[in-house]
Symmetry: C2
């Protein structure tokens, strides 16, 4: 491919494109894991002098051009299903933006069905575009579903992304139910489709040329807690792969987005899984995975986003041909597909804000009220994984707050789904436990020693009341109301 802009396309500047977008339009935008999102059209909308009341739907996390600039311009009325920048978060919590928090795996369907939003304009970043096709940049996310669902299509052609990135893409699409076929993927590393999204050429109303780079993740260095969690997780997995018939030849695994997930990925190379292949089937490629690939510890990696640091991006782009032998990027409704997570028997490893004594998990709302980012794909993996692992430090705020609490004030994942909890203190295997057994084990194995007595006191009060989940309702939320 010598030219990234193929055919006689309506190339326009961002300001004129923005001016044509209705003030109350529903925009569905590319982007996932902070990369691959459109930049110039959102910035132009932020500069637009009209009173905008946009609905903005992204596949996942996007950059400041959307969740800072558009928010500060007071241009977003509704936002689905994930945001990860402070100004968007503040607006969501103040009630200035109506925010609806959905699972990643089903969001594309929600938009295609027209059940969540009537999509007016898809604004999508591409590394190449033709009259009826485009090739996404550093994430696929829900872009194929959004392009299909929207009435109009605006493409931001970004020449800062190397053309070689297209080698990672495998963009399989499903029919609408009830005639939906199973996804014919038999292995996480397999390729079953093309590198491009096709569309009705009538839809393409503008191509905006861009060379503005993503604002990707910044991962902190692994902390002592991260390393202790990684060691505990590794020891658990070493035993598990020996005991379970699921792991005779390989271990398929997913890690959540963020610094802890990144650190856990990177540390997995230290565990001893015998002759077994390690295979990643998850949502994002983070820097830790590149380390595993470089060391020959990882067989293949499937995801929907190159959620790398700037250094990770540069490293990947420089050796794209080599990495593309092992890395596949898929649409988010494939990377997070419940059926595939089940069929591959994935071990899901995700973090959270806090977990209670009985295995209920709060991923999204501080004190049950204040929204952080969104549930993302954590429920897709917790719900469908062969083994769902919650990995988190036992404390927050420099040790002042316990992440193991009497009762979570908001539940994103239930005890029906979760299998194992790992902290820097140790491991609790919940499988087959009653809630009472889980509570006793969590206090002794996973809680920070500074909080064990207080947790024991709460549990004893609960036992005085009785019940299958022996809560003392009167004091169950005291740890949250006292903050």
């Amino acid at each position: 491919m010598s030219d990234r802009l193929v055919g006689d396309l309506p190339v326009r500047d961002a300001a004129s494109v923005a001016a044509d977008i209705p003030a109350d339009a529903a925009l569905v935008v590319s982007g996932f894991g902070s990369v691959g999102y459109p930049k110039l059209v959102p910035l132009a909308l932020a500069d637009d002098e009209r009173d905008l009341e946009l609905t903005v739907v992204s596949g996942g996390s996007v950059g400041e051009e959307i969740d800072v600039a558009l928010v500060e311009a007071d241009a977003i009325a509704r936002r689905y299903p994930y945001q990860a920048r402070p100004p968007a978060r503040e607006a969501v919590n103040d009630g200035r933006i109506e925010f609806h928090d959905r699972n990643i795996s089903t969001l594309g369907d929600d938009v295609r069905f027209g059940h969540l939003v009537d999509a007016d304009v898809a604004v999508v970043e591409a590394l190449a575009v033709g009259p009826d096709w485009l090739i996404p940049t550093s994430s696929i996310g829900q872009t194929p579903a959004f392009v299909e669902a929207a009435d109009e299509l605006v493409v931001e052609l970004n020449r800062s992304v190397p053309e070689s990135v297209r080698q990672f893409h495998d963009i399989y699409r499903t029919e609408l139910p009830p005639n939906r076929e199973p996804i014919p993927l038999t292995d996480p590393g397999e390729r079953i489709a093309d590198d491009r999204i096709t569309f009705d050429p009538e839809k393409l109303t503008a191509v905006v040329e861009s060379d503005r780079r993503d604002q990707p993740y910044e991962f902190r260095d692994p902390t002592d807690d991260d390393q202790a969690i990684a060691a505990n997780l590794g020891a658990f997995l070493e035993t598990e792969v020996e005991d379970s018939p699921l792991f005779e030849d390989s271990l398929r695994i997913q890690f959540g987005v963020g610094s802890l997930g990144n650190a856990l990925m990177g540390a997995l190379g230290d565990a001893d899984f015998g002759d077994r292949d390690l295979v990643y089937f998850g949502e994002v490629i983070q820097d830790g995975l590149l380390d595993l690939l470089d060391d020959g510890d990882l067989e293949a990696a499937s995801a929907t986003s190159l959620a790398l640091s700037r250094e990770g991006q540069d490293r990947l782009y420089e050796h794209a041909d080599r990495y593309a032998e092992d890395i596949v990027l898929r649409p988010a409704d494939v990377s997070n597909n419940p059926a595939l997570i089940d069929r591959f028997g994935v071990v899901g490893v995700n973090s959270a804000l806090e977990v209670d004594l009985f295995g209920h998990v709060n991923s999204t709302h501080v004190n049950g009220t204040y929204a952080m980012n969104g549930v993302g794909g954590s429920a897709d993996f917790n719900r469908n994984a062969a083994i769902a692992v919650l990995a988190l430090p036992s404390t927050a705020a420099g040790g002042d707050i316990s992440r193991l609490v009497p009762m979570v004030p908001h539940t994103d994942h239930t005890e029906h789904d979760l299998d194992v909890i790992v902290t820097e203190q140790g491991v609790t295997d919940l499988r087959g436990n009653s809630p009472r057994e889980t509570a006793a084990a969590l206090i002794e194995n996973c809680a920070h020693p500074d909080f064990r007595d207080a947790l024991r006191e709460y549990f004893d009060r609960g036992l005085d009341h009785g019940g299958h989940i022996p809560h003392d309702l009167e004091t169950s939320l005291d740890w949250h109301t006292d903050r």
Copy 2:
């Protein structure tokens, strides 16, 4: 098939079989929807004079021979994943039985993987048995997975179940991950397998002959509330099938187990879906479905259990040849399979104990502590349905208690999954709503008028605190602690 007992099998009496079962054995038993469970061996175990500490795992709900007799004999130490009889419930809540509550769809896998229990003996009801095969009776449930996983197999050959029941069975099996193939079902009514479960003949240690009938469900007559909920649900669905591209030719639907679900099924014949076929893809066949089939309103019905009343059983058995043209019974890991629910675009309709202002649902634990039956398949359908509907009366206890509450003290289903809430008062469509919008709509549309002022007062207090989910934590559980 002229003889139900084929070959030279080890026919024995129940007492001698029971005596050979180790006192701390893990038993995996047939049964789902209160039918198809073993009866004589559990009764013999209840009469056994040893101190038994059994683990008992069933596919779903079973009868008094297990969850009353064995419980009253103090013979059960652990019970998974569902119970629905008062003595078992009391023991679970008193802490005398360790109970672990899992989703239906994955329970068979949990047992096959050895992750939940190391299954010693499968005790399984059959209508016919040979040296290496058996044909289940009135439910399939997790019996195929249990027979595969257990070291030994005991079959209760029940001649009270007509041989014609085998016509309903379609027992498809999956491989273990990571080599699991997609289930090749393209339509809820299709047949893809055989009527029998095969096993290693070395496993079969006993056949016990029985003519003891199931103790099936008793459905109450529909109440005024049931009928009002059915009318509101019907009106919602009539609009939805016109608006959504999912329902051009047909509506695929599931209803939860119980009297309300049964009433909603039966009332669906009154709704006008134009030329669309109505197809049932759920967990249980209840009496209401027979009415729809008799009236020609239902194209096909797929489930895992004939959870009928005694009258329903008699009616089905009398015309089994005719009903078997439209009714298919599958293993519970097929009937509740996430991938199939997704591929068929099922509308899931389930009930619960209560729901809070922000769309979190408590299905299982009164006051967050006291276990009722178990989550059953409700999360399988809520999580994977194209549209997840919660249908429940707005009040309980003769109107004294609101089922719409400020905060649920236990969450089985989250706002990330739920789409629509229907009470006898009206309908709230949650799709695309922020939590604040959901709360306002639920109070006005779905709450009972007697409780609207109190709910408004709570919501106002929450708004004073702010946040995406504006709770007033201090008073959030007052409605439960004041009971």
